[in-house]
């Protein structure tokens, strides 16, 4: 992907409500034509970030630049961005066409132009012919698509989406994810997407920003975020993980509860306590004695693609996923390929859990972030 121009810069943004800090010296760059996702648990500050961008909330300190121009004090209705709200926020007393025409009418477009745009937008969201329907007669997914149509007819430079699929059921959500991707490609505008659903973030984004407690925890492509979480929070938040205490005995060897595991990490020093992350699908289950630790299966649930099992081994309960089923009570052994073991430093304080500005700016275009 060619390196593109920076569209939006958020610089040193801080915001607190009633003394509770929501964003603390937050920095983010958004590039043109990028699908960027803010991911984090509720209360992590992602919605506040979006609201500051949309102009609904004023930051306590810091600046928002749009193409280099300071828009921190610009009212919401003057900003070249449009938002798709969490609960759609369609105007219930207007029909679909009136909803879509709302922004166009304000900007004083001609009748003909408006009619064309409505038709075009409805076609884009696969809802042609719905002009005169009332909002309440639509399903959640249809309402969501109307909300998107209403935003995009104004041809914004950036579309802000605040958990737009949160209220939909699983199947619809997956459909809409593809739909959004397609739209993004067709329209060629920047999407800033907010969600707490890690799967959604990984599926759709060019870039994922994992946030917690007002700080950015990690920023990178979906693959980087998933495969190389930089700390326990990211590892825990992105997918299921076994996160266990370990000691880096020496380079390429980590000891967990007295058992040594070969790994590919180095440079931690000797006998350094670390966090070890192992994805459940990376745990290899074999006959007793074959793996590194012997154990016993304590539970087994079939969840569709594979079986999810708990294995008690070496004093730790491991979560493992496998297409083969092992019965509860069966004696097994577990092992992990060295490249599937992710070693992370233990956080010394809360501040260290966050990535400093320099790291983020330095890392984002290179791909593989270094361990802290």
């Amino acid at each position: 992907m060619a390196k593109e121009k920076t569209l939006i810069e958020m610089i040193d943004i801080s915001k607190s409500y009633d003394g509770e800090v929501v964003l603390d010296e937050f920095n983010l760059n958004i590039k043109e034509n990028e699908f960027i996702t803010l991911l984090g648990p509720s209360g992590c500050g992602k919605t506040t970030t979006l609201r500051i961008l949309g102009g609904f909330t004023k930051p306590d300190t810091g600046k928002v630049l749009f193409q280099g121009e300071d828009i921190t004090d610009m009212p919401a209705n003057k900003r070249p961005l449009n938002t798709v709200f969490q609960k759609y926020a369609l105007f219930p007393h207007m029909n679909i066409a009136d909803n879509i025409a709302f922004g166009l009418k304000i900007s004083g477009k001609s009748q003909e132009y408006i009619n064309d745009k409505i038709k075009y937008a409805l076609k884009l969201v696969n809802l042609s012919g719905y002009e005169k329907r009332s909002v309440t007669s639509l399903s959640g997914g249809q309402q969501q698509r109307i909300a998107i149509a209403r935003a995009i007819v104004n041809e914004p430079r950036v579309l802000l989406l605040d958990e737009p699929l949160g209220a939909l059921d699983l199947k619809l959500r997956q459909e809409m994810q593809y739909e959004l991707r397609r739209l993004k490609n067709e329209l060629g505008i920047t999407f800033l997407y907010v969600t707490h659903d890690q799967e959604e973030a990984l599926t759709m984004s060019d870039k994922v920003v994992v946030m917690n407690q007002g700080y950015i925890q990690q920023m990178g492509t979906p693959e980087q975020i998933y495969n190389e979480p930089e700390n326990a929070f990211v590892a825990d938040f992105i997918g299921d993980s076994n996160i266990v205490d370990g000691t880096m005995v020496e380079d390429y060897v980590v000891k967990i509860n007295g058992y040594k595991f070969p790994c590919i990490d180095s440079g931690f020093g000797k006998n350094k306590p670390v966090d070890v992350v192992i994805r459940p699908e990376d745990i290899e289950i074999g006959k007793p004695g074959q793996g590194i630790i012997d154990g016993v299966v304590t539970s087994n649930v079939f969840i569709g693609v594979h079986y999810e099992m708990c294995i008690e081994a070496g004093g730790i309960e491991w979560l493992a996923q496998n297409t083969r089923s092992f019965a509860v009570g069966q004696q097994v052994s577990i092992g992990v390929a060295p490249e599937n073991i992710q070693i992370m430093n233990k956080p010394q304080s809360e501040d260290e859990e966050a990535i400093s500005l320099e790291d983020v700016l330095g890392d984002e275009s290179e791909g593989t972030p270094e361990e802290l």
Partner: protein, 647 residues
Amino acid sequence: MKTNSSGLNKLIKVLYLALIVFFLYLPIGTLMVLSFNSSKSMGSWQGFSLRWYKEMFSNAELMEALGNTLTIALWASIIATVIGVMACIAMNAMTDRKRSFFMGVNNIPLLNADIVTGISIMMSFLLFGISLNYGTVLFAHITFCIPYVILSVMPKFRQLENHTYEAALDLGASPLYAFFKVVLPDIMPGIVSGFLLSFTMSVDDFVITHFTRGAGINTLSTLIYSQLKIGVRPTMFALSTVIFVVVLLILVISNFVRGDEEEEAKKAAASGKEYVYKGGMSTKRTLAIILCVVVAMAVAVRFTPSTPGEVGDKGVVYVYNFGDYIDPELVDAFQEETGYTVVCDYFDTNEEMYPVIKNNTADYDVICASDYMIDKLIKEDLLMELEFGQIPNIQYLSQNIRDFMEEFDPGMYYSAPHTWGTYGIIYNSALVDEEDFGDEVSWGILWDEKYAGKIIMPNSIREGDMVAAKLLGYSMNTTDEGEMREITDKLIEQKPLVYSYANDNARDLMIGENAYMAVITSGDVLYAQEDNEDLAYVVPVEGTEVWTDCWAVPKSCRNYDGAMAWINFMYSYDAAVANFEYLTYAIPNTQLDDYVYEDYIEGEMELQDIGIVNPPEEILARCETLKNLGPEGDDMYSKYWKEFKSK
């Protein structure tokens, strides 16, 4: 079996529903039927007639009260709605804690008793030296309507959580545009219900209006209340019917309009025609609302009260009278004859009028009050002496009434009688034994076991005690505990025989033949006879109470000459005749002695020969007037009355 039980089930359900509807609508149904009754009585049906509707529309006072009611309700609810919605906007932007505090503050007035609200508003007006008038009523109504608006609009704001306002801003709308285009339609149901709630609360209100209205400002509720003295006239039934039908029509129409709109939307959706955007056209509903407002405004303008606008040459005379206690046409006649402009105001009981005069909450030039109240007002120095030089017509005042006046206004300095009468027994001559009602009838007839369950006694302390006191040969103004004991025992003894203790509706119960005899004031007899020719009246030999209602001038009077002219006018022949014909109460005016009255029973008679109106001297000799006994006397009377009532 199964069908049987489900059939029964259904029947029970239908019956239950019918019962509910029946109980809900029976009262209003009764009223509607009575409004078409050609008789004045509530007790008997005497044929279909539109008489009361005609009378209603020609009754300027009623129409003015209706106009006041509607304009006050309309303006109060409009202004309260605007203020309330603005308050909601502000409260919506507050933090949760602050908002719940303000909601609490808002809710307290709702829980406050009306009487507390009314009195406190009145006191505030007086404290700040604002004289009570139309504006004060309107202000009070706005005040008590605001909480209702906030209460119905606020939840709508809380439901707006789906960020439609921000969505509108996001799409480029200015805050004002976003509010009117997006927020307002969303909270509209709350605003409409707040408005309607305010409107009904305002129309319904009696207590607060009562305390904050100025001289001459009446709404329907205060007017109806003031008329209780002589009984509610059927014109009120007619008016209530009209109001009910209008409200029903509005409800039906608004439902119809809404149904229509939904239908159309469904049709459009079904036909799936190519839709062409036509710009921001508003729907039929907005149209309907606008229409309603316009109609209401038209009504308001049509009935805008024509009060002090056309002040005559000589200024305004404020008259404070019992409701419906003069022929209403006399007001115009007086204005034409004298050049004064009259503003009439009404009360129901002396006790209601007293604090108004005492506290000077409104300035009246001439009032009407009963004998014992005149006595009290004189003793408290609240009345001005009358200058009889300006009331030449006082020469026509009947002599016999002058004697009674010695008891409450010795020397007749402060008052001039308007009406008078006696208490006696009204009986149905067709139902009682003739020999029981010969020449001399005793109050004892009311203790006759033969008539058990057919006797009506007064439901007021002094009149009830009077009957027993007279029978026992005591004064009706006795303050002797021993006598009081006997009087009370006598009344208790009578209790099993009594059909009902009634004041105002005794007359109607007699017309409807629910009872054979009742204690009643002479003024009501001619009225009752119109509807039931078998009724007759007798004053018992032991004597009775004579009452007098008099004109007087309070110290607050600002148009003394006008007050004198008013009293003088009331003694003119024309006024005396008009009042007699309107009220059928005895008017103490010698000019009426040879007035020929078309009696329903006896045919044409000269008024002086009708014993009901003009009791003979020997009866009057045995009569007393009600005296003001002071607080101690009142306490004793009510103590014994309570004992009697609780037995």
